[in-house]
C-alpha cells in the first residue's frame, strides 16, 4: 500500500517537471494545465476500473456524484468532500475545505496564482473517473481561500 505522502511528492514533482521550461506566458501555462489535466484523466479512468468492480450500478447522476464526494474522495484524499451543491440541472460544486494537494503551498496570497497548477491533475482525475462511470463532464476548479477549493463539475448531456 503506497503511502499518501509518496503520491503528494510525486504530484509536486510532476508539476515541477511540466513547468520546468515554462516561460510563464498564457499559452504555455494553458498547455501545461491541459497536460496535467490529461494525466489526471487517464489516472482517474484507471482508478475507477479497479474501484467499482464489486459495486452495484448507480441509481442516477446524483448517486454517482455522491460516490465521488464520499467513497472516491476518501480513498484518494483520506477525507470526504465537505460540501456538495447542485442546481439539479447538471452542475455540481464540490467543496473541499482543506484540499490535501494544496497543503504544500503556503497560504499567502502571492501563491494563489500557482494554485491552478495544483488543481489541474485532480480535475482530470474527477473527469476521468466520471468518464468511466459513463458520465461526460467538464471539471474546473478554483481556490478562493487556501487551502479550501471548489471543483465544479458540468455534466455534458450526450
Amino acid at each position: 500500500m503506497a503511502d499518501e505522502a509518496l503520491f503528494q511528492f510525486l504530484h509536486n514533482e510532476v508539476i515541477q517537471y511540466i513547468y520546468k521550461s515554462a516561460e510563464g506566458g498564457e499559452t504555455e501555462n494553458g498547455r501545461n494545465i491541459t497536460k496535467l489535466e490529461n494525466m489526471g484523466f487517464r489516472v482517474g479512468q484507471g482508478l475507477i476500473e479497479r474501484f467499482t468492480k464489486d459495486t452495484a450500478r448507480f441509481k442516477d447522476e446524483l448517486d454517482i456524484m455522491k460516490f465521488i464526494c464520499k467513497d472516491f474522495w476518501t480513498c484518494v484524499f483520506k477525507k470526504q468532500i465537505d460540501n456538495l451543491r447542485t442546481n439539479h440541472q447538471g452542475i455540481y460544486v464540490l467543496q473541499d475545505n482543506k484540499f490535501r494537494l494544496l497543503s504544500q503551498l503556503s497560504a499567502g496570497k502571492q501563491y494563489l496564482e500557482h494554485a491552478p497548477k495544483y488543481l489541474a491533475f485532480t480535475c482530470g482525475l474527477v473527469r476521468g473517473s466520471l468518464s468511466n462511470l459513463g458520465v461526460k463532464s467538464i471539471v474546473t476548479a478554483e481556490v478562493s481561500v487556501m487551502p479550501a477549493c471548489k471543483f465544479q463539475v458540468m455534466i455534458q448531456k450526450l
Binding site: M1, A2, L6, L10, V43, L47, T55
Partner: protein, 174 residues
C-alpha cells in the same frame, strides 16, 4: 450503500507514476533520456522525502551501512510502498548490497512495449534512495541489477556506498 472492493492507495501512486513515464516517453527521444529524467525527479523527491521519513519513523542515526540497509528495507520501503525487500549479496567489504523485491508495486499491470527495451521503468526509486541518503551525509550509487519488467525473476536494486559527505558547517564553528 456502496462498498468499495479491496482498493488500496498504491493504485493512485502506481497509476500516476505510469502516466508520468508515458509522458516522459513522449517528451524524450530515447530511453536513456527518460531514465535520466526519472532519476533526477526521484532525487528531487528523495531530498524531501527523507525529512518526512525521519519525522514519522523515529529511526535514529544509523551506525553503519548494514544498519542503513535494514532501515531502508524494513522501515522505509514498508512505510512508503508497503513491501519489505530482502537485503542480500553483501560485498566482502560491506559497502555494497542488494535489495530484492519479490514484487514491485510500481509495475502492477505494466508491460514494456517492444521499442522501450532499455527503459528502466522504476528508475525513480534509484533517484529517491540516492537523494534521501545524500541528505544524511551518504553518497551512494543505486542501480537496477534485475528487473521483472525486462524478464528477470525478481527485481534487484544494487546499492553501493561511495563516501561520507562532510556536513557543511558555517564559517567560525569549531
Amino acid at each position: 450503500v456502496l462498498v468499495l472492493s479491496s482498493y488500496n492507495n498504491s493504485e493512485l501512486f502506481t497509476l500516476t507514476y505510469g502516466a508520468l513515464v508515458t509522458q516522459l516517453c513522449k517528451d524524450y527521444e530515447n530511453d536513456e533520456e527518460v531514465n535520466k529524467q526519472l532519476d533526477k525527479m526521484g532525487y528531487n523527491i528523495g531530498v524531501r522525502l527523507i525529512e518526512d521519513f525521519l519525522a514519522r519513523s523515529s529511526v535514529g542515526r544509523c551506525q553503519d551501512f548494514r544498519e542503513t540497509a535494514d532501515v531502508i528495507a524494513k522501515v522505509a520501503f514498508k512505510m512508503y510502498l508497503g513491501i519489505t525487500p530482502s537485503v542480500t549479496n553483501w560485498s566482502p567489504a560491506g559497502d555494497e548490497f542488494s535489495l530484492i523485491l519479490e514484487n514491485n508495486p510500481l509495475v502492477d499491470f505494466v508491460e514494456l512495449p517492444d521499442n522501450h527495451s532499455t527503459l528502466i521503468y522504476s528508475n525513480l526509486l534509484c533517484g529517491v534512495l540516492r537523494g534521501a541518503l545524500e541528505m544524511v551525509q551518504m553518497a551512494v550509487d543505486v542501480r537496477f541489477a534485475q528487473d521483472t519488467l525486462r524478464g528477470d525473476n525478481v527485481t534487484e536494486i544494487r546499492m553501493k556506498f561511495i563516501k561520507r559527505i562532510e556536513e557543511n558547517l558555517p564559517a567560525g564553528d569549531e
